[in-house]
């Protein structure tokens, strides 16, 4: 055991965690100076972000510690943890008893294999034109849910924007530059991987009605590709391809198109009007009415949102 502990500094997990924290030893003096600069600036930024000075902070922590070790509070905490563990156990037991009386797993005569799924499977291809029945279901039969879902993404992005956006651009104008270290391995890998990932994402989006996948999964893959690119080449280079205004335009356009297209479809459906959108031949790429376009919209929104989350967490702006 002791031997293991001695070698811990050279172990893989230590290196991995060093890599994640950015504490790799840099022999080059220039690099060392750059690192010092970076640390200084980050400390500055941290000081800006922390709302009170360090002495205040210590005082408050002591206040909390004193509070925490009062006898009453200690007992209350103990009772609370025991209570919640007991509640958790009770919930597990109640639910287990319930599960025992639920319909059997994998049985085809269960209540949920009823007329609803029957029509989805038997007529889905004719009515929606989508080979992938799940896609047809979420984007045509139950499209209102999915519209709500894309709004959830939109509102989540706005929320993260509210929380993490730096309002003052002057405070740390180039945090992304200082936070960015060139890594030759990552760069080379990204050079090969990013195009492949992006093309695969686009493929998944475009084939959403024909094969597994669809707007959401494809968009997430594309977002992952963008994140990899930004990690390898830095935000400065990323901004040439994808700036905040691009982000805003794409999200706005895609969501607006989604909203208008779906409103048209809802309106004609509810008033029993004939919809002018053709379904096309099942199996072809340009088929299944609106589903392809909606998939593209969802894919764009998801890709932008995922990249936006990353950028906001990393440097406070998109």
């Amino acid at each position: 055991m002791s031997k293991l502990k001695e070698n811990y500094k050279d172990s893989f997990s230590q290196k991995f965690s060093d890599f994640m924290t950015g504490d790799l030893e840099v022999p080059d003096s220039i690099h060392a100076r750059k690192k010092q600069d970076r640390v200084d600036k980050i400390v500055e930024a941290d000081q800006f972000f922390s709302e009170f000075t360090t002495s205040d902070d210590i005082q408050r922590r002591e206040l909390y510690q004193a509070f925490k070790h009062r006898r009453f509070v200690k007992h209350a905490n103990k009772i609370y943890s025991i209570m919640s563990a007991v509640i958790g156990l009770i919930i597990i037991i109640i639910l287990l008893i319930t599960v025992a009386y639920l319909p059997e797993f994998g049985n085809k005569s269960n209540p949920d294999n009823n007329v609803v799924s029957q029509r989805y499977i038997e007529n889905g291809l004719e009515e929606t034109g989508a080979v992938n029945i799940v896609s047809g279901m979420i984007l045509d039969y139950r499209a209102f849910d999915t519209f709500g879902e894309s709004n959830v993404l939109f509102i989540a992005c706005c929320c993260v924007l509210i929380l993490l956006r730096n309002d003052d651009d002057e405070i740390n104008p180039d945090e992304d530059v200082i936070d960015f270290k060139r890594d030759i391995i990552l760069e080379k890998a990204a050079k090969f991987l990013v195009p492949v990932i992006l093309v695969f994402g686009i493929y998944v989006v475009l084939n959403g009605h024909l094969s597994p996948g669809g707007g959401f999964s494809g968009g997430a893959i594309m977002g992952a590709g963008l994140i990899l690119f930004a990690n390898a080449y830095g935000f400065e280079r990323m901004e040439r391809l994808f700036s905040y205004s691009t982000f805003k335009k794409i999200t706005f356009g895609a969501l607006l198109f989604y909203g208008v297209a779906k409103s048209y479809s809802f309106f004609t459906g509810a008033n029993h009007l004939h919809s002018i959108i053709p379904l096309g031949t099942p199996g072809a790429i340009l088929s299944s009415g609106l589903i392809l376009y909606l998939n593209i919209c969802v894919g764009l929104v998801v890709a932008c949102t995922m990249y936006g989350f990353f950028a906001l967490f990393k440097r406070g702006r998109i």
């Binding site: 997430a220 893959i221 990353f310 967490f313």
Partner: protein
């Protein structure tokens, strides 16, 4: 009852308990990532390839990236999360001072 399913489900429970009880935050997050991967295989076994692709891209991909970024922001990649030693010292001090005041 297919054995492979049972093994995966057992792994799922182990991952869930380990992610919740591990003392180091980074371990929790990594274990949670593996939870997502196991889920991904289970989606395939349940004949839902759509979910498998989504889970792989989102659960094991983007969510984990976000978790790591946050851990980095809060400098928790090396630190233990629960009560640290400082805390213990402080507690002893408080107890001492209390007993003094009683005397």
């Amino acid at each position: 009852m297919p054995v492979f399913h049972i093994i995966l489900l057992g792994l799922l429970i182990v991952c869930a308990i380990a992610a919740c009880t591990s003392r180091k935050l980074i371990n929790s997050v990594v274990i949670f990532m593996s939870f997502s991967l196991v889920m991904c295989v289970i989606w395939f076994l349940l004949e839902s390839p759509d979910l498998a692709i989504t889970e792989a891209a989102v659960g094991a991909g983007v969510t984990s990236i976000l978790f790591f970024l946050v851990l980095r922001k809060i400098n928790a990649l090396n630190a233990y999360d629960a009560d640290d030693e400082e805390d213990e010292d402080y507690k002893n001090k408080i107890i001492e001072s209390e007993s003094e005041s009683h005397e």
